[in-house]
Subunit: 500 residues, 2 copies
């Protein structure tokens, strides 16, 4: 019986994985090569495959098979036990949402997204308001279906950062907000500011793509098991650890966004390529949390890709690729330019020092919304006031204020904190990497990245979904998630850059 | 009831169409952009989606819904009636094959393909023989399941060219074999032979792709609803009439294969883009037969793309794209070179005059195999003897003889005739086009193709699967499919080219 159930469960999970990876391809293609008029039917294809995957997953028989296995989990191998635990966890979360509710949510998300696109374009928060109110109401009801301790926000957070709670976030983000905004103030007041006027040149596009390709190969991205293409909004998607797709975009006005964007997506891609081979077509070949996923992109993009040793190695090659355009540029100039701190309105364009402040603002507002401490109507006011406090910035309009992000329009409350957690996890793990690999920076200066990659493979990638985020952090660093290491990293790096 | 059944049937057909178009994307990606190591999981993804589409299609409930609709078909609109008839036809053919048989066939096809790859590489017919014997046996059993009148070959032909019979093929191919091989003999004996020595140059690759793109756009391929990419073995695939993907390859040793290959695939693509918009996500948005599909590619590739007026228009542009490499080349030189007749061993490299002879040889052999008039063991002998008779060629080894094609290794018996029928249909319809559009060749000389495309849209494309091949031919030309027009086309064109 146990053998039959196991075989059946693995078969169903494999088929669901096949549907999901086909969906990943449909979505990748939509954003890279699909001809414009293919869009309408693409939506139907995606809806059909999603529905099939969902039906297979929430079938009663499948749930019973998993429950029977779970009841006898001590008889299972370690791998099978993890598989059953993770799948049953997902199953329980899926079936506790009534079908009518899911349908209502899907419709509201779709309408919300449409309304948001128009509202942002027209800078008209009011037209988006009824949709937002509906989505907040649905988010509260979703939290009720799931159940929670403490705040309803915890039930939503669980979708993106399993095991994390708002209470922990308060502890972690509290000090962060304080010290990070203080740092930003001191940087703004420093007489030492980078000269970035030399960036005002015409930067050739193809060499940027080729240079990024070289760097991705160097850091360990396997082109036998992945590729990189162009897309208007860069993303990473994975069909399996054997087929990971990165995308990037290129600007002729700026020579580093293609590269740093590529390294960021490359960090996500290395994680996806790093899942254990025997976990293929199972939910174990998946990220522990979105925060952990983001920690991988941030490690490579920021800690490595914006470091001095990295540019000591790559400046000559960068100049060779860019030719004429980069003549006369020094390592120091690049290092300073790519680490320029400048508080700005838009989260996705924020630098390392200000980024988390954008997140904390969103976290505070969405949690207050969920708990009914503010209403949707009050968002712009709360947003603008807090932008002033945290970043010292006046928000000129809602389009570049509270309407800038897509997330709430898709009903995604509880997602934003994972971005900041990614930064914190990255710094905390990297502090440990530096202890364990004392020669690391010399290796990086020599263009060698295998030491770091192997550490991440062993401590993060290979576990897939076997460990929760806080377990990965504790097991690899000996401490629970905290903001200390990130603050230390920032204060040290930017203290020196801005002579604070 | 009729409304509910119709709604349910359309819903199921739509979902099956979504699965099939997702499969088309998986296959397109596999042959264009998939990283090498993605291959293993790709097979699983395809197997899962195929199985889901099949399960949905052969479900008893779905069959009953269609049967109920069919019983009351006089109450249906013309479109709905066509939809029900076509779908029920497919359903009946699908369910008459027992599941164990389909499984046995799938395994034998897969093993047969593997064995054929090795056998062709090693020039070892004997190692392929047991697989071939098995596949022939399975083809006979398949014919028995389907039932047939006359020869079992008819049951297999029905999969690719519905409505066509071996008796009709005998009539059509009989005169064709005789007169076409006579023509080839006379051409070989002619003192007038084209000079193709000027082709021995290095031909730049990107301009070939760009020039092909221009020509495809000119003949009417809509890049808003399709694209062209590179692939090792060119093919066309369609996700819907709104998303049609062509592929091509480029050789630096030869400047016309990329172009003629692109026009060939473009002809297939124009057909796929030409299905009626309201047929989307239904089986009506599909080709009438493979012969009709091939007639579209052959019309554009051969009748148009290898004509003098076409090259009178395009020679200056061809020379502009090719630059230095094409200097001093005349319209006449190109026209003669791309219409050179030269009997050769390999079907896929054959010219217009010899191509059908390759097909007739295969048709005779596969029909004799099915009827038990020869055994698989005797294939090489029969092949080589008939190659000598039809094409005057000695076959040096089986790798370039009876092992050259993939089809039999995949159990595809009854497919080959559709290639020859495509040539015949093309010529027969084009004879009619010339009657109806007297200014056609002047238009083509001016680079105008809408007259021809509109004729094909109206007489072929828009019908989708509503008409069988012979109905399309009869309705548009007033006569049943015949070999006369093609022979006349060949004898006139090549009589003049070779001064016969």
């Amino acid at each position: 019986m146990i053998e039959t159930d196991l075989k059946e469960v693995r078969k169903t999970l494999g088929e669901i994985s096949d549907l999901n990876s086909s969906l990943a391809l449909l979505s990748w293609d939509q954003q890279t090569y699909m001809p414009p008029k293919g869009a309408v039917i693409r939506g139907r294809q995606q809806a059909t495959l999603s529905a099939l995957a969902h039906q297979k997953f929430v079938s009663e028989e499948f749930g019973e098979q998993m429950q029977r296995l779970h009841d006898r989990k001590n008889e299972l191998s370690t791998d099978d036990r993890s598989l059953v635990e993770v799948s049953l966890y997902d199953y329980d979360r899926a079936v506790c949402l009534p079908e009518e509710f899911v349908e209502e949510l899907t419709i509201a998300q779709s309408a919300g997204f449409e309304a948001w696109v128009a509202a942002r374009k027209e800078n008209d928060f009011t037209s988006f308001l009824p949709h937002l109110e509906k989505l907040i109401d649905l988010a509260r009801r979703k939290a009720d279906y799931h159940g929670y301790e403490g705040t309803p926000y915890n039930a939503l957070l669980e979708d993106f950062e399993p095991g994390m709670t708002a209470e922990q976030l308060d502890r972690i983000f509290g000090e962060l907000a304080l010290r990070q905004s203080k740092l930003v103030e001191r940087i703004a007041a420093s007489p030492v500011q980078p000269d970035t006027s030399w960036l005002q040149r015409e930067w050739p596009k193809q060499p940027q793509f080729d240079f990024a390709r070289l760097v991705l190969q160097d850091i360990g991205f396997d082109y036998e098991r992945g590729r990189q293409d162009l897309a208007p909004h860069p993303f990473t998607t994975s069909l399996s650890a054997q087929d990971v797709r990165l995308t990037t975009r290129i600007s002729s006005e700026e020579p580093f966004s293609c590269l740093t964007g590529s390294i960021h997506e490359g960090g996500h891609g290395l994680y996806e390529q790093g899942f254990a081979e025997h976990d293929v077509r199972t939910p174990l070949a998946n990220c522990s949390s979105l925060g952990i996923h983001e920690s991988q992109s941030r490690t490579w993009e920021n800690i490595i890709g914006r470091s001095l040793p990295f540019w000591q190695h790559y400046t000559p090659q960068f100049k060779q690729y860019m030719g004429e355009a980069a003549s006369g540029i020094s390592v120091e100039q690049i290092f300073r330019a790519i680490n320029r701190v400048s508080p700005s309105l838009i989260r996705v364009e924020a630098d390392e020092c200000t980024y988390n402040l954008h997140i904390i603002l969103r976290y505070e507002i969405e949690r207050a919304l969920l708990e009914g401490r503010i209403s949707a109507r009050e968002i712009p006011e709360a947003w603008n006031a807090r932008m002033k406090e945290l970043l010292g910035i006046d928000v000129p309009d809602d389009a570049s204020g509270s309407l800038q992000d897509i997330h709430w329009s898709m009903g995604m409350f509880g997602y934003f904190p994972t971005y900041a957690l990614g930064n914190l996890y990255a710094a905390q793990m990297f502090e440990q990497v530096e202890k364990e690999l004392p020669g690391l920076w010399s290796e990086i200066e020599a263009g060698q990245f295998t030491g770091l990659l192997n550490w991440l493979r062993k401590n993060v990638h290979l576990h897939g979904r076997r460990k929760l985020a806080h377990q990965i952090i504790e097991d690899s660093t000996g401490s629970p998630p905290a903001s200390g290491p990130y603050l230390q990293y920032l204060e040290s790096k930017y203290g020196s850059l801005y002579a604070l």
